[in-house]
């Protein structure tokens, strides 16, 4: 079969990949000697594996496909290669011969593969294609694995190894010259729209076919321009977005609304003007996948919007755990040097202490305001040297502040909701704290301090127990795993000196704390006022 025939027979099913199909077909054709190694590369969802599979099936070349993502270790991969090859060659019963189905090293693999291929019946000495899918994603792969696998084809003449990689290969990454590469580029706008339009528009009850066929092409290209193109979406994404939005888009026609402008018929422009909001709100939410999909049917436009805006019910914790979480939050968000001012019991009731606290809160707030203004000023004219930043005498440097602003992450967000500041009023990101500090702060903020302080001793122990639960819930985490997440989860031990860090948003903690009678802003630097 000629390569053009293969391409034409397949292109109805997978359009816009003619070039690649022809290349593959000519390189892997059973009548032509194949290159020992072939690299197929392209980002995900560009149809690499599907087309490779289809071409191989059409060419009727014996082949085996190993999906690297399903192999846990390098050894697993090698075993699987051997096993799949045996299966493809119908030699499954003879696994005892070939190393008892065990293969621990690439050199061993080459010997075993050679034996298998040599053991084939004499009348069919043709080539054998081994496809290693997503081989660049192999877990626990030794760094020589790729180049070693690329050599297999050189050692065994009848073998052709196809490496499918999803990253763009660096030059000579196989340490081997002149390996043919076939690139699967992402689909262009024209191609993507063509692919979507090659299937019909989703059927909507009550929508005349004629309108559908007239409006759908425009709709698809608008979706591509507004949502898929800018986000580099793949074809399946594109398709699912189109399917999801199409119902809403044509809803005015189906509901029998009268088109504006005295016309009797809806055309694309009118629908678009009517449905601008879809692309803004639903379109964006359509891009984000959620585990629990929104099940609000798209009958009215108002209700789903209101629903998404509402914060879902957050879990409530038991009293004691809430208090611990609050202390952890405060410990994470108060600079340690201000501890004596904010949490010391010796001066907690005196006027001067309160003044001091207010002063510090205000200062930190002024600082953050100044920072916001600076940014504003910097945006306007970058050359002006700022003076406000220098005037504030604090050890919190400008860089920490600006980084705190830049990464207004989930861990820090506004509590007070100050009117003047655009950014979060809690200017510091969560910092790690030692456990003893948490205990001390707990005692400081306890809204119901024990009547007899001598009995307090039990509290520290109870805190540990609750903290373990909070840690299991990842609300408070050891500082090391907060950053790296490298340490294994589960039952790792923590020393007394180890640092911890809070791992939730401030709003929620603030709300929880209010529920048990603790005002977080009162203790927080830059929180209240």
């Amino acid at each position: 079969m000629l390569s053009t025939e293969v391409a034409s027979s397949l292109s109805t099913q997978w359009p816009c990949r003619d070039v690649q199909m022809r290349q593959l077909a000519s390189l892997l054709s059973p009548h032509v000697p194949s290159p020992p190694t072939l690299v197929v590369h392209g980002i995900s969802a560009t149809c690499k594996s599907t087309i490779l599979r289809a071409v191989l099936a059409t060419l009727e070349v014996p082949y085996a496909i190993v999906r690297s993502s399903e192999c846990i270790t390098g050894r697993h991969l090698l075993t699987k290669i051997l096993w799949n090859t045996l299966e493809a060659l119908d030699q499954k019963e003879e696994w005892e011969k070939s190393g008892k189905g065990r293969c621990e090293h690439v050199s061993g693999l080459s010997v075993l593969l050679e034996e298998c291929l040599a053991a084939r019946s004499a009348e069919d000495p043709g080539k054998f294609v081994l496809v290693l899918d997503e081989i660049d994603r192999q877990r626990e792969a030794p760094h020589t694995l790729l180049s070693a696998l690329a050599r297999l084809g050189e050692i065994i003449p009848s073998l052709c190894v196809v490496l499918v990689v999803s990253s763009t290969p660096r030059p000579l990454f196989l340490q081997c010259a002149a390996v043919p590469h076939i690139s699967f580029p992402p689909y262009t706008r024209r191609e993507a729209i063509h692919i979507i339009l090659s299937s019909d528009a989703p059927v909507v009850d009550g929508l005349p076919d004629e309108t559908s066929s007239r409006v759908y092409p425009y709709f698809v290209s608008t979706v591509y321009d507004s949502l898929v193109g800018p986000t580099a979406g793949s074809i399946p994404d594109f398709r699912s977005i189109c399917e999801r939005l199409w119902f809403r888009f044509v809803a005015p026609v189906v509901n029998g609304e009268t088109p504006p402008g005295g016309n009797n018929e809806w055309d694309f422009t009118r629908l678009l003007v009517k449905n601008r909001a879809i692309f803004r709100h639903q379109g964006e939410s359509a891009l984000v996948h959620r585990i629990v999909p929104d099940e609000t049917p798209a009958t009215t436009k108002r209700t789903p919007l209101a629903k998404t805006a509402l914060p879902s019910a957050l879990p409530s914790l038991p009293y004691f755990s809430t208090l611990i979480l609050t202390s952890a939050y405060l410990a994470s968000h108060t600079p340690q040097r201000l501890d004596t001012i904010f949490f010391s019991k010796f001066s907690s009731s005196s006027l001067s202490a309160r003044n001091k606290r207010a002063h510090h809160r205000r200062r930190l707030k002024v600082l953050s305001q100044a920072q916001a203004e600076d940014r504003q000023a910097a945006n306007d004219c970058p050359s002006t040297p700022n003076k406000k930043g220098k005037r504030t005498k604090t050890r919190i440097t400008k860089s920490t502040l600006s980084s705190a602003f830049a990464t207004s992450s989930a861990t820090t967000s506004a509590i007070g909701g100050g009117a003047g500041i655009a950014g979060p009023s809690t200017i510091l990101t969560a910092r790690p704290f030692p456990l003893e500090r948490l205990l001390a702060i707990y005692h400081a903020i306890d809204p119901n301090p024990p009547a007899t302080p001598l009995r307090v001793a039990a509290v520290a122990d109870r805190i540990y127990a609750e903290l373990a639960t909070l840690r299991r819930l990842r609300l408070v985490v050891p500082a090391a795993s907060h950053n790296g997440m490298a340490t294994s989860s589960g039952n790792t031990t923590a020393d007394a000196g180890d640092k911890w860090c809070v791992n939730v948003s401030g709003d929620w903690v603030g709300e929880l704390a209010k529920g048990i009678g603790v005002e977080v802003g009162e203790w927080l630097a830059g929180g209240l006022d």
Partner: protein
């Protein structure tokens, strides 16, 4: 330093008698292999069989060791009997609570497939809140259901089982196979197959298994999803995704916080693999309230938890993460301690008088405060003879005691019945915050309920109820109170309602609508006066009925809501000791460690007779150093510490003090403190130690 002192300090001369104040706990070794999934049924069986062997030793004779053996055995048997009854009730409640969610999850698992989820892994998100244990209950029942219908099985995975991908997969495969075939089945499964032996983490194994069994749904449940490492979870799920066409996975994620928080922490690529539905399990609080109500207010109850115990129990539930199981364990402990330590508990077994004929037991009964109260009452009422007999005649006492016990137990039962009456009434009278049975019980147990504002308000509102609500209330009361009076009133009311069914609900004369405010001008002042509006005939009749209901309730409540502390023998059927319960369930390791270090002779026997306060060389070196450490600031110079340490030994052992020995003690102590984690090297100053723990926090 003389040898004695030295040996003492080094702990060389420690013979066992000196350290009797402290015990070392050595946990028994379990023969069970670690990997084997404990099957619940078998576990229960094995423990009970072991219990039977060791029955005899469980309880010790009380009353200074003079208690009869039968009586000891009776106490134990009664405990077993009472608790097993209660436990069954609790179990029923727990199953009942979950059944709704169970059905939902089951139907979700049955109805979904990757095709219905846009090619994603079908995922059930179960939020459990603080009710952490409910999930495992749910899962085991789910497992049973799926296995019995041969649809598949549930594999439970905990974060501890998942240190890395390889082990996790191995655990999943092993758990899946052992779940249905047992451990031997797993071994057989590994060996007994055509082809080469696969690696333990190869999902081909699972694929094989699924094909052999014809599994339609393989549910993988992550019990504490938050605790899993997000990277590992992503790896695992992407692996499942790629196998989804061969193995029918369904993922069940147990979430303790909220779906948003959980989702927010996962990488987008991982979220994109999942799609499913969200289920919520009931909060622990409701469940616990139901358990408490069943335990206490049931008509067959013969032992009650007192006010202190109740408030401790509910404090724990509201303040800490606590599962209903933990709650029932605490109740069990309370039952256990009652029967273990109270010789009067034998009375609950309704023994024949031969068992009771023990002079010590009679003595114990006579020593009860409630006995004293009883005698005083008897004398006041003029039954001097009886009082005298009770005091002097053992036989008479033993004859009378069970009667009193029975009567008083009935009064307790009635009291809880009254609590339920109040609770039922409050459902109709109070709109906003409804106190639950446990709140009411605490008040009732302390005898405060009849005079409380809750009840007063209840009566006030009950007067103004319209006929519809009153009708419902009466029907409800009929279920709780067995009294002909209620039936009679109910009948009357229904006949009245039949007569005037068209005029809408009737209102009593106490209702705000039937009072009229009159305005009169007296001496240039406006006076407001309230007066009864003219009531219709039916309304007057209805008002009468309301009055009767109120009167009935008032009489009933004042009769039944007694203070249990005033009942004779309440010590036998009311367990109200706060302390063993509270201490047992709140261990204080840190406090104990600190105390042991700061005042070692609280635990160790001192070699000298004089009780010493403060630092002394007789104490273990670590304790000495710890006390010095307590006096220091946040940073302490090691040399200063050494000097102080040496000083302690120098003053005690005037003269011959070998500073090399002391130095070695010092080093030993220092490294021990380091191991405790109370000191660490300071980064600021090289020759200083930083304090990292403060006492008494």
């Amino acid at each position: 330093m003389d040898t004695d002192g030295l040996n003492d300090a080094l702990g060389l001369s420690n013979d066992k008698s000196q350290t009797l104040g402290a015990y070392i706990y050595q946990p028994p070794k379990h023969g069970k292999s670690t990997g084997e999934r404990p099957s619940k049924r078998r576990k229960v069986l094995s423990t009970t069989s072991r219990d039977k062997r060791a029955d005899r030793q469980h309880f010790v004779p009380l009353l200074n060791g003079d208690e009869k053996a039968e009586s000891v055995q009776l106490r134990y048997d009664t405990y077993q009997e009472l608790w097993s009854k209660q436990e069954n009730k609790i179990q029923d409640i727990l199953e009942d609570v979950d059944s709704g969610v169970l059905m939902d999850v089951l139907s979700f698992i049955r109805s979904t497939s990757p095709q219905t989820c846009n090619g994603c892994i079908p995922t059930a998100l179960v939020t459990v809140g603080s009710n952490v244990s409910s999930l495992s209950r749910l899962l085991s029942r789910l497992n049973g259901q799926l296995i019995s219908t041969e649809e598949g099985s549930v594999v439970v995975l905990e974060s501890g089982d998942a240190p890395n991908l390889k082990t996790t997969l191995k655990n999943i495969i092993r758990a899946t196979v052992t779940n249905t075939d047992g451990n031997d089945g797993y071994q057989k499964f590994l060996i007994d197959r055509a082809g080469p032996r696969l690696l333990g983490y190869d999902l081909d194994l699972l694929h094989d298994y699924v094909q052999r069994k014809g599994t339609k749904k393989l549910v993988l449940a992550l019990r504490d999803s938050e605790a899993f490492d997000p990277g590992l979870l992503t790896d695992l799920l992407s692996l499942f995704k790629s196998w989804l066409d061969r193995i029918p996975f369904t993922v069940l994620l147990g979430i303790s916080t909220s779906v948003e928080l959980f989702e927010g922490r996962l990488p987008r690529s991982c979220v994109a693999l999942l799609q499913g539905k969200h289920f919520e399990v009931q909060e622990a609080g409701n469940c616990v309230n139901r358990i408490y109500e069943t335990i206490q207010a049931d008509l067959n109850t013969s032992l009650w938890l007192g006010r202190n115990v109740t408030s401790t129990l509910f404090e724990n539930t509201s303040d800490y993460f606590q599962s209903p199981e933990a709650f029932s364990r605490m109740v069990k402990y309370a039952y256990m301690s009652h029967f273990f330590a109270n010789p009067l508990a034998v009375l609950l077994a309704n023994p024949d008088s031969t068992v009771l004929t023990q002079s010590k037991l009679c003595k114990a009964i006579r020593n009860l405060p409630s006995f004293r109260m009883l005698c005083e009452d008897l004398i006041e009422e003029g039954f001097t003879k009886q009082a005298r007999d009770m005091l002097e005649d053992d036989e008479y006492l033993i004859q009378e005691t069970p009667k009193y016990l029975d009567a008083n137990q009935q009064r307790m039962q009635k009291m809880f019945q009254a609590v339920r009456v109040v609770h039922a009434c409050l459902q109709y009278t109070q709109s906003a915050k409804k106190p639950n049975v446990s709140d009411l019980s605490v008040r009732a147990l302390s005898g405060e309920l009849p005079e409380s504002t809750i009840v007063e308000e209840m009566f006030a509102t009950a007067k103004t109820l319209d006929s519809d609500k009153l009708d419902k209330l009466l029907v409800r009361l009929q279920g709780i109170m067995i009294s002909p009076e209620v039936d009679a009133i109910q009948e009357e009311l229904s006949t009245l309602l039949d007569r005037c069914s068209e005029s809408g609900p009737l209102r009593s004369g106490y209702n705000i609508n039937s009072t009229v405010t009159k305005t009169t001008v007296v001496q240039q002042r406006i006076r407001l006066s309230k007066g009864q509006a003219d009531l219709s005939e039916q309304a007057v009749e209805y008002t009468n009925i309301v009055d009767r209901v109120i009167a009935l309730l008032q009489v009933h409540l004042t009769e039944t809501l007694i203070n249990p502390q005033n009942l004779f023998l309440h010590e036998a059927f009311l367990f109200d000791l706060r302390n063993p319960l509270k201490e047992t369930f709140a261990p204080r390791p840190r406090f104990a460690t600190e105390r042991a270090l700061a005042t070692p002779f609280d635990y160790l026997l001192s070699s000298s007779d004089i009780t010493m306060t403060g630092v002394s060389a007789k104490q273990p070196a670590t304790a000495v150093l710890y006390q010095l450490y307590l006096d220091s600031g946040a940073l302490v110079n090691v040399h200063d510490l050494w000097q102080a340490f040496y000083g302690v030994f120098e003053t005690e052992e005037a003269g011959g003090c070998d500073d090399r020995v002391v130095m070695s003690l010092f080093y030993g102590a220092l490294s021990e403190l380091k191991a405790f984690g109370v000191i660490k090297n300071s980064r600021k100053k090289t020759d200083h130690l930083a304090k990292s723990a403060w006492m008494g926090l």
